[in-house]
Symmetry: C3
Subunit: 261 residues, 3 copies
């Protein structure tokens, strides 16, 4: 039965790091293993960005998929190495808060013990190649999670900023800017549910009405909408909102609403 192993890293592909990971997976995994690139363009050491990525991507994959996510500023230190099971899928990577933030704390997790499954040497600077890829290869071979390490209950915690709610406004911020320059905020569809006549304000721009899709605004016009990950975003139709409005990650996003009678 075919085994999918996905890769999410901050390695880029100009260096040979991803190539080495793939070599190890194909050399140590079963013959029917397929490696799927998700991203190697996570910002270097950007844990929140990695968590936002994982949160959006993983729920789309079929049961049995093994996800390797390696953003690992603490490589070689005492930080734990993890393998986790979540909703029928498996994931492997450093204990840096990415998995618990993206997937919740209901993970069944083990702290990897490399001596149980690594045959070669383990470098102090590249556990993606020397620990995580061999662990993923063993899981793809069908090994049970518990064979690779000891159960852990406390995982590293990472949080993203929560919006603050006032009587007539909701204050959040820009979490991420995508390739199109859309400003993706920490305000979710659920936060907006039930608010009367919400309008959105970013960077001193005029108040934006919520639209349904980019093309609902005039070409070149700013708009606000609920994006494909159920988060409020500010966009410019056929344009780049980050450049147009001159804002970056962390900028304030305010939703003003009418107080119902």
């Amino acid at each position: 039965m075919r085994k999918l192993v996905t890769l999410t890293t901050d390695f880029g592909t100009r260096d040979a790091y991803v190539a080495q990971l793939k070599g190890v997976l194909y050399a140590q995994g079963p013959r029917d293993l397929d490696v799927i690139d998700l991203s190697h363009e996570i910002g270097p050491q950007q844990l929140l960005e990695a968590a936002l990525f994982v949160r959006a991507a993983w729920p789309r994959f079929p049961a049995g998929t093994i996800h390797l996510v390696v953003v690992d500023p603490g490589v070689g230190s005492a930080r734990k190495a993890l393998a986790c099971a979540h909703a029928g899928q498996l994931c492997v990577g450093p204990d840096n808060g990415v998995m618990s933030l993206a997937l919740g704390h209901e993970l069944r997790a083990v702290a990897l013990q490399p001596a149980r499954f690594v045959t070669g040497a383990v470098s102090a600077t590249f556990h993606g190649r020397d620990v995580f890829a061999p662990a993923a290869a063993r899981l793809a071979q069908g090994a049970a999670l518990e064979l690779l390490g000891e159960s852990v209950s406390e995982l590293q915690r990472l949080t993203w900023p929560a919006p603050s709610v006032g009587r007539s406004e909701l204050r959040g911020q820009v979490l991420h800017i995508d390739r199109f320059g859309n400003l993706i905020s920490n305000i979710s569809r659920e936060h907006l549910a039930g608010l009367h006549e919400p309008r959105v304000r970013v960077a001193g721009a005029t108040e934006l009405q919520l639209v349904r899709c980019y093309a609902d605004a005039a070409v070149g016009g700013s708009c606000a909408l609920i994006g494909s990950s159920d988060l409020l975003e500010v966009a410019v139709s056929s344009g780049n909102a980050a450049e147009r409005l001159g804002v970056g990650v962390g900028a304030e996003v305010v939703v003003i609403f009418s107080v119902g009678q």
Copy 2:
């Protein structure tokens, strides 16, 4: 029998959009489906660039390949969603002119009716994930084109500029600049066939003779040649013509030729 699904998008890979597409394809497609990345680096919303890409890439693939091409500034609007058959291959994407420009109007096409094949919700901003990937997965399952929508005869038209022909010169322009800085024009091998002693002029540089390959020019020297997609290009041997000559997309390219007796 193995099913190849290729991806051509303007999504980049820093965001999770491509990852979500892949998840849907693997979750909804047959077990022997393989996803092949062609490009996620098409310039944001650059339809002509996408068409030039598709024109070069698709003829190389085997019969039965399914191509997903999603450059979709009109997502969520009334623009049609298409699945097409062309020369033994299938393609899926928005009706934005890319397919008809790249492949000609001899496409057998249907306007997708998502209700026929989408089981979940359809967002207003990400039809790549919610409409096109499910359609490609169904085609990979073996579904006939006509099962997914109603036949359409009129597709959106997109054109690229044609060169103008004079008595002793041909005036075209730069369509694309590749990674090496080569200036790729809209003048084809066929346009040049039969011209006497053609010389090429770009951006006020001295007239260039046509050579056969980059290495035929001195290192650092400018040259003109028929590139691998049968289009006239201007290059600098072991260098970057766009930087050297300071020109961009849209710059004029003139071919001067001798008028035969």
Copy 3:
């Protein structure tokens, strides 16, 4: 039996060059061929960078893997086209010194004779698509190396700078800067073996002690260590050494050591 074909190029993915390569491989190769992207981000025409990449990546792959490496400023000239066998793996690409530098001169190599295996036309500017991919497809079909061309003994030579050894210091240089800004030098683990109290100096920065991993230095602090390819590198913990120290490829790296009694 499954056949893996890896790709390492300087093509980028905004242009259709990689897509065309993949099309040819899938169209001409056996049905169980899988194409694996290693990198398309090798710097344009950067042969040393390609060799450093290959040296790190290939040893990780399983026996039988076929590697295509195309960095080819001399395309269309008299430079040979090669297929080589090395340590149970195969590689295909131009005779530009990359393979012999990365893998040593103990290669069993043939100079490809396209007439033996190419059915279509061969362009003068894109042998990746028209010569190397068809050759790789034939090797994946099981063809013997010797079927594709004539044995060659003398390959193009390429060298990287060797460090110079003095009585109390070793002088090397920065070969490569990775995505994290780490400065990777031409000084290897073997060069350092047996040196007393080595300290590292780059760009007039204070002398750095060798540490084991990035996290052993204070956050934001500079350090030196033996990286995952057994080369000395200078890093900034959770930061970017190239930016911090303002150095680039070619900058001097000096190891000072104590002269034992």
